[in-house]
């Protein structure tokens, strides 16, 4: 429906190839609502993330972005359709995945450093080494002074950064992030984006990144998925051809960037408006 | 609590174990309808812990207790006056059993070093056991007493050899004799054998009330005595079998023969007319004062522990 600029190539959805890192194939997921009916959260959903690819997902609130990530982790099972990770059907919660939850999921009884060291310790890294790496990551997210604090003694943005360090330290091959930077101020956010891109290019991970900030999506991604208002399905997919490496502080002023953002923005706005008008109706 | 709640028409009597043969006259009276015949509305309450029964009686919540006579003596030493008005038995109905594993114990004189089972410390079985031992020349400390309760726990203690001998009542006696796990060492189920063992009659199961209650309830006391005396006469004139037939089935639970057999062996302990045997109270005092700390140095007036007035007047 949108014109396709060279930089933001609009793709047509196709059955996912077998070797994709993440392949969601024609998935529908329904929840039981409080009045006993079924509610479709996502519908006929198809999405592919190749190995080493950075995919961003944008869409109106409540359209099923978090649900999609939960499908990939195995926390939710599709009603119909298949989800594959690294070619294997998702049957249980995978250890190869890194997942930054939308809400807080830190362990309140562990201090910051114990929270961050949890992953390596679970995976059998020797204690001293795990704590060294944890200390390193805590410094990278700018919390060196707060190593010994417990989560409730941190501010919202600090907690989010602990969660980021906790996930990044595991160097996951597949990284799912649900609005990870929304509680951060612009400057800290940019620093975190740089960390993320650094980690990504170093590990050649596959990333799915959910955000409401379209500019962030365009700045980071190889591919942007625009979802329709709930029940969510893929409205359009854009390939972002901005050159890498990208420097977050500067890319926003890139002419090509502005152009791409505008195209996707128009596409998205249409959808958001639709979602809103629907939200105002009563009934399902 | 401590209010004298003597409802005019309803009389509550606590029985220290309704299914026990030594207290059989209580339920039997009820079963035979003798209370009703006297125009009494009697309610029997079960309480296996003797102390509970006495406390209730003293607190005035019940009018009478069917229990061991020796409590009247013991309580007098603590300044509480209760009286036996009908005496059910003139022998304790207890038997000192010895485990079949210990044939070397042939008399209480062989108790040295043994562990002896009693139902509870400070109970009648405690005093009787000690008395038997001392009468046979032992000193306290030569033997150990172990409270094991009655019934199953007593049997288990014998089986597991935790006690070498012990004192208990029917139907525990019958059960252990039947399986051959124990033999009778000292039999105190009949007046004769009791005299032999203790040197006198030993009045045990009785019906007692607060002395103060008698004063204000002479009429009820008399009617109760009438009913119980009738029952004592019934027991004396009927066979164990016939008596057992009157009892609720639950009390002999599937093994009536055993019940009858026990009753036949123990029937002789009951007084024929509910009267206190003449030398009985002395024997009890003798046994108690030897061992019970609370009796030491106390003057007991035995005449205030029982009365035969009502039994004498019973028709």
């Amino acid at each position: 429906m949108q014109l396709q600029t060279m930089a933001a190539e609009k793709l047509s959805p196709a059955a996912p190839p077998a070797d994709a890192a993440i392949a969601i194939d024609d998935v529908t997921l329904r929840f039981v609502t409080p009045d006993g009916h079924m509610m479709t959260a996502i519908r006929d959903f198809t999405m592919t993330v190749a190995r080493g690819e950075f995919a961003c997902v944008v869409g109106p609130t409540g359209c099923g972005k978090s649900t999609t990530l939960n499908l990939v982790t195995g926390l939710l099972r599709p009603t119909t359709g298949n989800v594959r990770v690294m070619g294997n059907p998702v049957t249980e919660i995978s250890r190869d995945i890194g997942f930054v939850f939308q809400a807080d999921a830190l362990f309140p009884w562990r201090s910051v450093i114990d929270n961050v060291a949890a992953g390596p310790l679970y995976r059998g890294t020797p204690k001293a080494q795990a704590y060294d790496r944890a200390r390193d990551w805590i410094a990278r997210v700018g919390l060196a002074r707060f190593e010994k604090h417990y989560p409730h003694q941190l501010s919202g943005g600090m907690r989010k950064r602990v969660a980021l360090a906790q996930t990044f330290i595991n160097q996951p091959k597949i990284l799912l992030m649900d609005e990870p930077f929304s509680a951060l101020d612009m400057q800290t956010r940019t620093a975190m984006q740089d960390e993320l891109l650094g980690l990504w290019s170093e590990l050649k991970s596959s990333v799915v990144f959910v955000t409401h900030d379209l500019e962030e999506a365009v700045a980071l991604a190889d591919k942007v998925y625009v979802l329709t208002a709930g029940p969510g399905t893929v409205k359009s997919v854009y390939r972002i051809d901005l050159p890498r490496p990208r420097v977050m502080a500067d890319i926003r002023y890139d002419q090509k960037f502005i152009e791409i953002a505008k195209v996707i923005w128009n596409d998205l706005r249409e959808e958001v408006q639709l979602g809103q008008s629907r939200g105002l109706q009563t009934g399902h | 609590g401590a209010t004298a709640a003597s409802a005019a028409d309803k009389i509550t009597i606590i029985v220290g174990g309704m299914e026990k043969q030594i207290y059989l006259p209580a339920v039997l009276t009820q079963q035979l309808g003798y209370f009703k015949d006297e125009g009494l509305d009697v309610e029997l309450v079960n309480s296996r812990a003797g102390v509970e029964a006495e406390n209730e009686l003293l607190a005035g919540a019940v009018q009478g207790v069917v229990g061991f006579y020796d409590h009247t003596v013991d309580l007098q030493s603590k300044g509480k006056y209760i009286q036996s008005i009908v005496q059910f038995s003139q022998a304790p109905g207890e038997v000192e059993l010895v485990s079949a594993k210990h044939p070397e114990i042939k008399s209480p004189a062989d108790f040295k070093g043994a562990t002896l089972g009693v139902t509870g410390l400070g109970s009648s079985t405690d005093f009787l056991t000690q008395y038997l031992a001392v009468r046979n020349g032992l000193k306290p400390g030569d033997y150990t007493l172990l409270p094991v309760g009655a019934g199953n726990t007593f049997i288990a203690a014998v089986k597991q050899d935790q006690i070498q001998a012990g004192m208990t009542t029917e139907p525990t006696i019958a059960k252990l004799l039947q399986t051959g796990e124990a033999k009778v060492l000292v039999d105190m189920r009949t007046p004769e054998k009791t005299k032999e063992a203790l040197g006198g009659d030993y009045p045990a199961a009785s019906f007692y009330v607060q002395s103060a209650w008698i004063e204000s309830h002479k009429d009820e006391a008399q009617k109760l005595a009438n009913a119980f005396v009738k029952t004592m006469k019934y027991i004396a004139s009927h066979s164990a079998e016939e008596i057992a037939d009157q009892m609720p089935k639950d009390y002999y639970a599937g093994n009536k023969d055993l019940y009858v057999q026990g009753l036949a062996g123990g029937k002789a302990m009951f007084t024929p007319d509910g009267r206190m045997p003449a030398d009985g109270p002395e024997t009890v005092l003798k046994v108690l004062s030897t061992f019970s700390k609370s009796l030491q140095g106390k003057q007991i007036d035995l005449s205030k522990t029982y009365t035969t007035v009502f039994v004498d007047a019973a028709k």
């Binding site: 926390l75 009603t79 | 609590g1 299914e19 309450v45 296996r48 209730e56 019934g151 199953n152 009390y251």
Partner: protein, 291 residues
Amino acid sequence: MTAISPASDQAARATSIVAAEARARARLRRRHALVIGLRLAILIVFLALWELGADYGVIDPFFFSSPSGIWEQIWSWVTEGTSQGPLWLQIYVTLEETFLGFAIGAVGGIAAGIVLGRNKLLADVFSIYIKIANSVPRVVLGSVFIIALGLGMASKVALAVVMVFFVVFANAFQGVREADRAMIANAQILGASPYQITATVIIPSAMSWILASLHVSFGFALVGAVVGEFLGAKQGMGLLISTAQGAFNANGVFAAMIILAVMALVVEFIITRFENYVVKWRPAPFNEQGT
């Protein structure tokens, strides 16, 4: 840019969702059947081993009874009544004491837990006395109650109350203290009075704590009532057990216990129903969600 699927495809998709959901329901039914099956299997194996053990002398039925003996006993009680009167009357008497004791103990425990949980000073001052009270042996308390309250229903109820109270209190107290502080603050700011906070935030938060304690404490109330009857009674399951014990009737003892267990299960079922109703807002664990 979604491929607009032709109508027939749409229909096929709808069918496949319906089919998937039917499969999920069937899975649930199968699981339910499995649970029931396993429960029965365990019960049967247990009873069979017991019966055989009794038959072959491994277990002495004189002490430990046997399933067939228990059954005969129950049957005779049902058809012929017990020595104390009809069986249902015994059950009724014990149930009445238990329910009263349970209700008083639970309400008291919840109330005390909430009051002390909400007021730190009261908690600091009084919790030590509650702890002292909890260390008093119930059997001794039983005698004290009988002296103070007589041999009627009151003393059994009181015994059931003290069995229930402490468990419920401990949980209600801790449940109140665990209530989320942000949620309490939110209610306060939204305009809730202390009483409203207690009713709409504290109690719902503490509900799973309270319910957990109710589950275990109904059994305790039953035990309290039975022990009370043991110490002295005219009627009731406790007296039935006591008589059976005195008469060496192991069948009777175990039969009475089975009847008590059935009573407990019936009430347990009711509590669980209530629980499901009260906590229907709860998220299912991940993976049990969706269909």
